[in-house]
Symmetry: D3
Subunit: 116 residues, 6 copies
């Protein structure tokens, strides 16, 4: 039986495969860079995931938020750390961020419940 | 039987309750400020609601638009006033606002029909 | 039997009719201008459609992207030309454009399949 | 002797004249619409100017803010009304609006001082 | 004696050199991609430059607009083609684009005058 | 003798004082929240400053970037950490971020040179 996390990831994978099987070099390289930019460097993976999360939230990109919530969750970020990150996003980006905050909170709960 | 206005408000309330039951002080205070900012002052409530509506529309936040459409409706704003506000938003924000204009118009009609 | 292109166009037409039957002159004229701006001039229709597509994509307006994908398709733009346009949008607008790139690619495939 | 308000208006007029003397019909009509949209209708001029101000502020367009501050000033808006409008913009648009709030406040003071 | 085009390019080159001499692989690759994306492909260089111009304009990035105006100029785009591109940007992006339209028009005139 | 960091801070302080001496409660509280949100919590000050920096950069707010660069510098962030943060911002926000990246790099160098 499916759930929102699996559905999101299935659609994402299917469409990414199509985009990458296409011969557009610029798109391929941007996808590649994405993997590079979030690898451990001077900053650790967890910090970088939170940077990705806050940037996605202020830019109000729900799918980007979901993606970084899941990778944050998988790299061991706590709920409190996520909430502080999202609160900074809401302060900087304003109350128009709140609808995305609601969805982010809901998705984080699903990630925690999937665990069980 | 449910309708789009009730559904929107039910989800909004449920998630706001969760966000506020959480211990993040910054988020709580931003929610509080929201109530403050739209209270009568030098400008009356109706004018402030229209300010909230036009800002939400140019920022293309559908949920924020719905919220301000309902509170505009409840504070006695007329359809013509809403349309003038939305037309200013479309002119300032450009044709990318049009898809949000369609949804706003549809939601306003639902608000009027719920009345009956 | 309905499909995503027809559904999108039906909703769009229904709501545009309502908006235009309303007496707001500014909204009417903006709709009119839209027709004007994309007519052949110093630049041909195809180039203008691609300009509309890239602008809609960097502004992350899914409905605007759908609209310009269909009119690009109808004016004879090839898949490769669409992909180059979308890749420029993704580079300029960043990885937050990627979720919209997925939807655009999916919609283009539907447009091609509807043909059959 | 020049001041910031005169400088801004002189540059604005000079460039608008050039843009309008050019033969682009779409640009001309958009300029025309701008005059129309802010004329008295169901909403009075003062309210419309504040709608223009709040929209310009959340979109962080300093020149648009200056323009609407001056026309707000000329239509008799009080400092307190401007501050309430700008505070709603800052709440909705977030702390990234603050640098534009500083400039707006500074420009309003210049408008008041020019009066003397 | 310096002029706005030379000043802009000198600062741009100096800072790009510093950024690229730095060891950040992600930044280096994004700069590289930029060259790739605007090379001739299914679409010719001129069309791609106009795509870059319209995207930069709706995103209201003055420096990006200057950059694409110069490369458009160098690839033989006419003033009328630039104006149609900018008019589409203004329609899609709304009147908040107008201050950037003024600067773009001014910069284009400087590019033409530098020629002499 | 003045320098860019001092000039920026002097203007910022002067205008913030004026804004806060004004009686607008919403603006005052937003300024207060800003102090709160970046204090140590589940996340340390340094991480929060980088969150503020990346959010400011993708939203292309030069003054916000300067502010967070200085507080990052003062909380002991290294140049390499800043560059990784800015590279994530450029990837997520796209090449329109590059002009802001140039200014950020320049400002960071000034902060380092002021030290001497």
């Amino acid at each position: 039986m499916s759930n929102p996390v699996e559905e999101f990831n299935a659609y994402r994978s299917k469409m990414n495969d199509k985009l990458l099987s296409n011969n557009n070099k610029v798109v391929k390289r941007i996808f590649n860079l994405d993997t590079n930019a979030f690898a451990a460097g001077a900053l650790d993976v967890k910090t970088k995931e939170l940077l990705g999360l806050v940037a996605s939230t202020v830019l109000r990109c729900d799918d980007c938020v979901k993606y970084h919530l899941e990778s944050s969750y998988n790299s061991g970020v706590s709920k409190e750390e996520v909430m502080e990150t999202l609160s900074i996003a809401t302060l900087i980006g304003g109350t128009i961020v709140i609808p995305h905050l609601r969805k982010a909170y809901e998705y984080w709960e699903i990630l925690e419940n999937n665990e069980g």
